[in-house]
Amino acid sequence: MNNVEKYEKVFCECFEISSSQLKGLKYQEVVAWDSVGHMAMISALEEAFDIMMETDDIIDLSSYEKGLDILMKKYNVKF
């Protein structure tokens, strides 16, 4: 599984959505992406990519695309 697939899998499993719903997805646009779901997703991302995210980045991760950007720029995850 490549990193994009891993990233998508986290979103799909945490928010119980299909991969077709991911593009453009923003925080609180689906029921499961509330604050509790957000922290569960962060925990899953940290585990999937073996990283420890800073609080500022956790707050900034407000969309599917923003998350890709943060992981690439701040945590050297290659997509």
């Binding site: 509790v36 922290m39 962060i42 585990e47 420890m52 995210m53």
Partner: protein
């Protein structure tokens, strides 16, 4: 499992481990079978020797971790080090603290800030990192060391008491936020404990506090450490979000 090995197989991170309650906690947790990450501001040979002795005696690991609670970057580096070394943390004891005592008009804002940094903000920062590790494990126990000064109204403790009150309310809120991950959060609120911090208060002030308790004696660090061991253990699995007064009956 024997009562003396309540924490076998668990790892506890304890802040403020170089003296006072934290120093005794390292001993009690090791004695209960836990590996201990003993957090201190600075290392010393005698402290290292003591931790090595505890490790050998109780057949556990006692590793010293140095960082300054006044320095956010040092805390961050220390927590990242734990992540990089894949260290599991089952128990977090936010024990480190600093005390200032003066009437409000004689307490500078800088004194308030530094007291809150050590007694509250640093504990929050550590908890942010460690609770995320615990969330992944879906298990954990966090024990904050509060104070009756955060519950009762002792003149001269506006900075210290307020910082401890903040920590205790933090406990209550966090216990709700983290319960679904199997993480329990509790506070122990001691009265006067026989530590170097208490010595700074002076005899008269100290006697004034413990004379209010039904037991009428100063608390031993060991007594607080044993409560922490219990709260960290599975024997306390239903205790969450509580502030346990350890004051001899005030």
């Amino acid at each position: 499992m024997s009562n003396s090995k309540l924490l076998a197989g668990k790892t506890a991170l304890i802040t403020g481990s170089s003296k006072g309650i934290g120093f005794k906690m390292v001993e009690s947790f090791a004695s209960a079978g836990a590996d201990v990450i003993a957090c201190v501001r600075s290392s010393s040979d005698s402290l290292q020797q003591h931790f090595d002795f505890l490790a050998q005696t109780h057949e556990v690991r006692v590793n010293m971790l140095c960082f300054d609670l006044m320095n956010e970057d040092e805390i961050k580096q220390a927590m990242h080090g734990l992540h990089l070394s894949k260290t599991r943390v089952d128990i977090l004891v936010n024990n480190a603290g600093t005390m200032t005592s003066a009437l409000l008009g004689m307490t500078s804002i800088e004194s308030f800030k530094s007291t809150f940094q050590v007694n509250f903000f640093a504990q929050v920062q550590i908890t942010q990192y460690i609770s995320k590790l615990m969330m992944r494990q879906r298990n954990g126990a966090i024990i904050n060391i509060g104070s009756i000064a955060g519950l009762d109204n002792f003149s001269g403790y506006s900075a210290y008491g307020s910082s401890k009150a903040a920590l205790m309310q933090f406990t209550r809120i966090l216990s709700n936020e983290l319960a679904s991950y199997g993480i329990r959060v509790n506070t122990i609120a001691p009265a006067l404990v026989d530590t170097p911090m208490a010595e700074k208060m002076g005899v008269k002030a100290a006697e004034g506090i413990f004379s209010r308790s039904a037991i009428k004696r100063i608390t031993k660090p060991q007594e607080i450490a044993e409560i922490a061991v219990f709260l960290a253990s599975d024997n306390a699995s239903i205790i969450n979000g509580q502030v346990i007064r350890a004051d001899g009956g005030m």
